[in-house]
């Protein structure tokens, strides 16, 4: 028997690994120093811990320690990368290239710059699997382009973009390449050198570290990337991000990176297996369900499925002892279904019917089987209640119906 509730929403956040918490504990109490205190042992101790973490972060993305800037989280990192580059390079140009399925932290940073008249932004489309075409990136580059911002892997559908090709194009055209790699770091191999990434956002709580800590990798050589800070103050983090360092969070983030790097090959294999087991468990027992995202180029723990004729939120309600997430309109205040799912070009009804399963380090095969059973039963029950399912079974083409909305 599995223990409920089951957490299967690991793209939203992950629990802190107990090993991470152990590493953090002393820095709350006895080793509480300010890493910026240069004249006593409390400060030195904290600084040493931060340096260690900086190395642990650098190591997981093949960067140098001094290229890591600690922030409050990936949202801040994305803001700093995008706004910081556009501001600093304003004499060189003002054009930014991004993609429609980016995280809101990227999209809304771009929109803010547009509103302020500081940038013009090209939002590239994605194909039916949610993948950006590197050729589209190439074609969008103008002599005014100062930044390309494309995420490593999508947080809803798990699609992994052709980052290395985009990185190559960016190098060739001498445009700075920022990559929101929040969902990728620690889950799949990320290498800023091989991938040609100049700026990279990452987050602690997505990789079994604590919330409230993130980082931005800023390339120091080939090219040396410059940024105008968005937070001014004591000049911490080489002047790019002022504010007393969150030492406990940083220590935890570092420990999380070290564990993730060490266990990545085995964990990726195990999660892929669990994901495939879940996928098979659903697809073998239910008709008219559809995979959203790329069939192969996808994050190990990600499964995003649309269950036709069943509205996503009602399905979540039916499987209330399982924590997953829905692209349904009704889970948001806007009443609009997920913009990521809609960008795939699938019909709106299926967008309302999508569920994201996010498998993580602590999920088991028993949990996967339980979830597949629960979802299958609930989808069948809700379909018996669904007028759309009834109409489809009667052979009515739902697209031909005149709906009275």
């Amino acid at each position: 028997m599995v223990k409920t509730p089951i957490y299967m929403d690991n793209h939203a956040t992950t629990p802190c690994d107990p090993r991470v918490l152990d590493a953090m504990m002393p820095y709350f109490t006895t080793k509480f120093g300010n890493a910026a205190s240069r004249n006593h042992s409390f400060g030195w101790e904290a600084e040493e811990a931060v340096d260690k973490a900086r190395n642990q972060l650098a190591s997981i993305i093949n960067a140098k320690a001094k290229e890591i800037i600690f922030t409050s989280g990936a949202t801040e990192s994305d803001n700093l990368a995008i706004k910081g580059v556009v501001e600093f390079y304003k004499d060189k140009g003002n054009h930014v290239i991004t993609c429609v399925t980016e995280h809101k932290a990227v999209l809304d940073s771009c929109r803010a710059l547009e509103r302020q008249g500081k940038a013009t932004v090209t939002y590239l489309p994605v194909d039916k699997h949610g993948m950006v075409d590197p050729d589209d990136v190439r074609k969008a580059i103008t002599d005014k382009t100062v930044l390309i911002s494309i995420m490593y892997a999508n947080n809803e559908i798990g699609t992994i973009h052709p980052i290395r090709e985009i990185g190559r194009i960016a190098k060739e055209k001498e445009v700075i390449f920022h990559c929101d790699a929040v969902q990728a770091v620690g889950k799949i191999p990320v290498d800023v050198e091989k991938d040609g990434i100049d700026l990279l956002a990452m987050s602690g709580h997505k990789i079994y570290g604590p919330k409230g800590v993130g980082a931005l990798y800023v390339r120091s050589k080939g090219p040396r990337v410059r940024l105008t800070p968005i937070i001014d103050g004591g000049g911490h983090e080489r002047g790019m991000r002022s504010g007393t360092l969150n030492v406990t969070g940083i220590v935890g983030f570092g420990a999380a990176c070290e564990i993730a790097a060490k266990e990545l090959p085995e964990e990726a294999r195990r999660l892929t297996e669990l994901r495939n087991r879940l996928q098979a468990g659903l697809f073998e027992r239910l008709d008219e369900i559809y995979l959203n995202g790329h069939p192969t180029e996808r994050l190990p723990g990600n499964l995003n499925v649309s269950f036709a004729y069943v509205e996503g939120e009602s399905l979540l309600m039916g499987i209330n002892d399982v924590a997953v997430s829905s692209g349904s309109a009704c889970t948001s205040a806007t009443l609009e279904p997920s913009y990521v799912i809609r960008a795939l070009g699938i019909n709106e009804e299926l967008a309302h019917s999508s569920i994201r399963f996010g498998l993580g380090r602590f999920n088991t095969a028993d949990e996967v089987d339980y979830v597949a059973d629960r979802v299958t039963r609930e989808v069948k029950r809700l379909r018996e209640m669904s007028p759309l399912y009834e109409m489809a079974k009667e052979g009515i083409d739902l697209k031909s119906v005149q709906w009275k909305a």
């Binding site: 004729y309 009602s314 309600m317 009443l335 279904p337 669904s386």
Partner: protein
């Protein structure tokens, strides 16, 4: 967001799920909403010749609150005269089910479904009576 106990009860034990034969002259069918909006309600009312709603069935594609609203409505209208049923306001559904502001559209849809089902029944009845009246004149 958490759901009220009443919404949960209707969602877990929906009343009167199902369908009547659409061609039954005593049945009025109302289908409201649209799949792209994430809500479609089908409400069917069996109405006798004196205009009293004898039975009701529903099927709903939508969130839990939409399912609960339609389930509640099938209980609410049973035994009511169509004039009374036409006067049911969505606010009554909101109150009964404790719907939060973002879910008020579900209650509006349920109110619309009642009206659509009754007007469909009236159409049947008018359609059925007119030819009869015409025949009577011929004789």
């Amino acid at each position: 967001m958490s759901y009220s106990d009443k919404v949960l009860d209707h969602y877990n034990n929906p009343r009167n799920v199902g369908s009547f034969a659409k061609d039954d002259p005593n049945v009025g069918t109302g289908v409201v909403g649209a799949p792209e909006c994430g809500d479609v309600m089908k409400l069917q009312l069996k109405i006798n010749d004196s205009g009293v709603i004898e039975d009701a069935r529903f099927k709903t594609f939508g969130c839990g609150s939409a399912i609960a609203s339609s389930s509640y409505v099938t209980e609410l209208v049973k035994g009511k005269h169509i004039d009374e049923a036409m006067a049911i306001k969505n606010t009554l559904i909101v109150k009964e089910l404790n719907l939060p502001p973002v879910k008020i559209h579900c209650s509006v849809l349920a109110e619309d479904a009642i009206k659509a089902a009754i007007s469909d029944w009236k159409k049947h009845k008018d359609g059925a009576e007119e030819p009869q009246a015409a025949r009577a004149q011929e004789k």
